[in-house]
């Protein structure tokens, strides 16, 4: 099966992989899946770190040794923006998980640069009271 260069964004992080695009599906080798999204195909299912999602009985997630990106997004209840013509997809966050984190009062960590290029992380400010202010020129 012919493979095509394909870009996958995982909450903004971009990886270029080869994907099988036959029949309007995006099918990735286990290696491409791991490089782009971190999920590893194991006998117990698809695993990210210690978390494994069983795929037995889940039609269409894995076939012929390849993982179907659209079926995976559905399995994980994560939104997938897709442009097959431009060969790019963006996997977003689960609304349910994001809502639970924020309602639970957990401040998600992030890492961003300042104007000089110095990287800062929220976690590095632990022990201080942080006033987070998002603004924009628009």
């Amino acid at each position: 099966m012919a493979e095509h260069p394909f870009t996958i964004l995982d909450e903004g992080r971009a990886t270029s992989v080869a994907a099988d695009l036959a029949g309007g599906r995006v099918r990735l080798s286990p290696n491409a899946l791991e490089r782009s999204l971190g999920w590893v195909l194991k006998p117990e299912g698809l695993c990210l770190g210690d978390v494994c999602v069983p795929i037995a009985g889940r039609a269409g997630v894995v076939a012929d040794g390849k993982v179907d990106l659209q079926a995976l997004a559905e399995l994980l209840q994560r939104p997938l923006a897709l442009d097959l013509d431009e060969r790019i997809a963006s996997l977003g966050a689960s609304a349910r998980e994001r809502g639970e984190v924020l309602k639970g009062g957990i401040a998600p960590d992030f890492r961003l640069p300042d104007l000089t290029g110095r990287e800062w992380s929220l976690g590095g400010l632990r022990g201080k009271k942080v006033l987070l202010v998002a603004y924009a020129s628009w």
Partner: protein, 205 residues
């Protein structure tokens, strides 16, 4: 204002972290040069913070305590009254709430109210954020027409999200203070001016 607050309260273990949700450092630079911050003043061209904290407009502020817990969820607040005639919200009660939180450790939003005051995102809103990321990437690769389709889709999926609808205007060659903005403003006004407060009340019933 945030720099002045830092100078006033920095010795009490307080630090403002300002995050520019702009397409480039150059867009934010004039604001930062003027403010001359000594606190972290960050650039977020991918809208990471907006995504992680469910932000739908600016300015949005969050209190985060010493243990990394949210002490006051996303809300629109202002450090000055410069644009009060447009939004009608005074800065003084908010600045008093910041000072009280820093000095006493007590947020004006009690811990048991955090969940109720948080806007839980919908699946369509999260899909919109994924569409925005895709569109922005396409635009940066020079695929401007394809990008436009996904910017439009993102706005349709998340009509209340100004970080998408207004925030994409400079990228898309539209004036964020021009006709498209006034159209967005009219729509928002006609829909009852949805805010963090009204959306939280609706969704957490």
């Amino acid at each position: 204002m945030w720099q002045a607050l830092y100078e006033e309260l920095g010795d009490s273990g307080f630090v403002p972290v300002t995050v520019a949700l702009d397409r480039s450092a150059d867009d934010a630079r004039p604001f930062i040069d003027k403010a001359r911050p000594t606190h972290p003043s960050l650039i977020d061209t991918e809208h990471r913070v907006a995504h992680l904290y469910g932000m739908i407009n600016v300015p949005t502020v969050v209190f985060i305590d010493e243990a990394g817990r949210i002490a006051r969820p996303s809300a629109m607040e202002y450090g000055t009254d410069m644009f009060k005639q447009f939004h009608g919200r005074e800065s003084a009660p908010f600045l008093a709430a910041v000072r009280a939180w820093v000095r006493s450790g007590k947020s004006d939003v009690p811990a048991e109210q955090i969940a109720k005051r948080t806007v839980p995102p919908t699946p369509d809103e999260e899909l919109a954020r994924a569409e925005f990321s895709l569109a922005w990437r396409l635009h940066q690769q020079g695929q401007v027409e394809a990008a436009e389709r996904h910017f439009v889709r993102a706005g349709e999926l998340s009509p209340n999200d100004w970080t998408i609808r207004r925030g994409s205007m400079p990228i898309r060659g539209k004036n964020p203070m021009g006709p498209e903005f006034f159209e967005l403003f009219r729509e928002w006004d006609a829909n009852g001016k949805p805010s963090y407060e009204s959306l939280a009340a609706q969704r957490n019933r």
